[in-house]
Structures are given as structure tokens and as C-alpha cells.
Subunit: 231 residues, 2 copies
Amino acid sequence: MKTNAISGPRRLKDTLYEHFARIGKATSSPKRLEILDVLCQGEKSVEELALHAQLDVKNASAHLRVLFASRLVTARREGKRIFYSIADESVCEYWLATRAMAERRFAEIERVVKCYFDDRETMVAYDRDVLLGKARRGEIVVLDVRPKSEYEHAHLPHARSIPMDELERCMASLPRNKQIVAYCRGPYCVLSLQASTLLREHGFDVLRLPDGVLEWRNAGLPLAYTSPPKE
Amino acid sequence: MKTNAISGPRRLKDTLYEHFARIGKATSSPKRLEILDVLCQGEKSVEELALHAQLDVKNASAHLRVLFASRLVTARREGKRIFYSIADESVCEYWLATRAMAERRFAEIERVVKCYFDDRETMVAYDRDVLLGKARRGEIVVLDVRPKSEYEHAHLPHARSIPMDELERCMASLPRNKQIVAYCRGPYCVLSLQASTLLREHGFDVLRLPDGVLEWRNAGLPLAYTSPPKE
DNA sequence: CTAACATTCTATTGCTTAATAGAATGTTAG
DNA sequence: CTAACATTCTATTAAGCAATAGAATGTTAG
């Protein structure tokens, strides 16, 4: 006669689904998802995350505690700051699967996005591997307009980093005889749209790429790292 | 000057993450996940689902309404009954991604499962494609012990259906000179374990396969259908 | 048309959770 | 050792949600 912690099938199921539901609970708040999304771009301090998700620091900390308790993020102290990051690659994959399903199930998402990003004629029209080839041969400049730290965490091959808030100041260094392809965190991030608008106003030949590193890697393409990836 | 429904980046983000969070909200309840999981095996009536998840019918209906509002399931009326099913293939993929992440992040899941299913020596040890080959050549009998309707919705190639509750009655029809490989809904479903235990007690040479149709298809292998799949 | 049935709708209860603010912890600079 | 800082912990309040039960809807069989 065996006396396990789990006694019958019902107890087993209850235990398992209870654990699975922890994920749902953690991802049932828009603000937490926003935090999770930006954490997929690299580690960030509580303050940065609070700023990013438009939360006061205490509240952001509380949300992070929830994400931590659900094991979706890990924390690391460096001096006075605590840096949070995605616990695992499986978290990015989960986030991508969630997004994919939501996009497919909620037509309103596509509608809202199309309405905000109504720049179809100035988006990259060719395939990702064509883009990779052009970038490798130096025919285009791939421009990463995310904050420097995110670029350093991972970026598209041959990409150059000019964070959005330095773009106005640094744009003189960009070539005027080559096409520029600007990208940022992904299809819902506004940075690349702002960048492409700004650069176009200044006469550059610029296209917007609605990919981020997650989408790029998810398509099976390689990424580049300034410092070697930690895993 | 453009006046969109969505005015600024913050409004856009809030709208988008609000939608994404609907998924989390819908999957934040263990019982709803249990419903979703079994719906991945094929459509079911409210009553069946209530029975399966050990809920009273009213409560099950309420949970289904939540899943429906989040567009994770669809409903179809047939006579007095209403049959719910997974809205989309992307829902299965989402569920698999959730499970994969939870398994990876929560060591306790593996512990609980190992503790309940402590039959490593009587589990299928060879690869899925080896199994497929053996099944095709008729060297083994692949046995689906789920309810008939789930078998009909989709099953492993060359599998034979004997629902668990008919197994005792029908086991005489199984060969004694061949290995039997029993499977059910997946790694957390107890049916195949019950089946393999029962058959072993009656002297059959039986192994348990911890896959279900989801895991099988996710591994890139083909499924078989009694009636053609609806998509 | 009526009875039986499957399911949903409505209302009530108690529990969980998000946001907020004040106190406490741990870290560094001087 | 103290002040300044980043973050967490604790408590409070208000909002949201799961479970339950009774009423209502829609469907079929007779």
C-alpha cells in the first residue's frame, strides 16, 4: 500500500492545474504583461520598468513580486538597484504564443495596430532573409533605435545602434545614399515608427521593419550580441 | 491632423495589453484550464465538461462563458445540448507553450508527476518514429483508451480504440503475442496508466506512452482521423 | 400544448487582488 | 556612523471574481 502526497487522480489534477493557473494569474494584468514584454528585450531595474509601464515604483515592485512568485522573472542585485529579467527562454516563447493566439482570436488587435501604424507603404516589403543579405553586403543600414542596453543584450545582425532619443542629434552620421531600415522591440513598439517618421522628414530613404529580436529569432534567424549571451 | 480612436502611444499600449491580459484572465483558473485541456481532445457538452472537471453544471457553464468571452472556445448547439470546442489551433499551441513553460519553471510539477506515474520501467523507451514504424508494420498494437468521441476526433496512426471503461470487457480481443502500447490524453492523464496496470495484471505485454495527440502532433508526426478534420 | 431536459441568466455571498501610502530594509557615499 | 537612495514590506480600501442557488430560456418528445 503506497501513501503518496498525492492520493488520487482528482488530487493530482487539482495540483497540476493549480500550478498551470499560476501562469494565467501572473499574466492576467495588462501592466504585468507590459513589464514582461519589455523584459524580453533584456534586464531592467524596477525604476526603469515603472517608468516604462507608467506605474509608480511601489506598484511596479508589487507587480514584479507577483511575476517573481510565478517564476516568470528572476532578480539580481547590483549596488542599490535590483535588475529583473526573464527567467527563461520558455517565457519568451510563451509570450509569443500568447500574442500569436490573441492576434488570431481578436480581430480588434489587428485593427488597432493597423490604425496606429498606418504606414504600409513605408514598411519593409521584402523577406527577412533578403534583408539579412542586403545588411551583410552593406547595401542597407539596419538601425536599432531601442535603448543601448537592449541593443547590447541582443540585436539584429549587422545592426547599428542609435537610441531614439539620440537620433535627432546623431542622424548626421547616417548615410544618405543608402536605404535605412529601422526596427525596435517588435510590431507594437512605436519607436521605429517615430524614427522612420523623423528620418523621412530629414530626407532619408527609410523603411520600417515591424520585427524585434523576438520575432526575428522566432523566424529561425540568427541574432548578434555585443556581450556574449548568458546561457 | 489625424484623429484616431487611439490617440497616443500610451493609449495604444493600454489597449493592446488589455487585450492580451484577457487571455491571462481566462486561464487564471485551474478549472478553466482543465476544461481547455480536455477540449483540446475534441468537443464536449457542458455536462460532460462539468463531470470531467468535477464542477456542478451551472458553475461549468459560467466558466465556459468566460472562456467564450475570451474567444478561446466556440459553441455549437445540437438539439438540447451545447457543444463547446477549442476556437482555433492556436489555442492548443498556447496551451502547449504554457505547459512547457510551467514544466520548466516549476520543478514541483515534474516531482508530482514522477511521484504519481512511477512506472518508468514500463514506459515506451523507444522514439516516436520507431513506434510509428512498429505500429505500421503491425508489430505492436497502439491502444487509445480515451472515450470513443476523442478517438474519432483525432488519434495516433494505426491506433485502435478501446475506451478505458470498456477495457475490462473487451480485453479478450487484444493479442497476447504482441506488445501493446497504451496512450491517452497526454502526460498528465491517468487513463493510460490505469489501462497498462489493468492489462499487465491480466498478463499482457503492455507499455505506456505518455503522449497524447497534442504532443504527438507537436513533435511533427501525423495523426489519423475517423471523420475528416473540420478545417 | 405541455412536460422534461440542457443550459444560461441573475443575484448574493465571501474571497482575492490592484492600487495607494507609510514604515522598514538593505546599499552606497561621505 | 549617517544621509540618501532603491526597493520591499505592511496595511487599507475598493473593485473584481468564483461559487452557489433560484428563475428564465430554448429545445425536443409526446
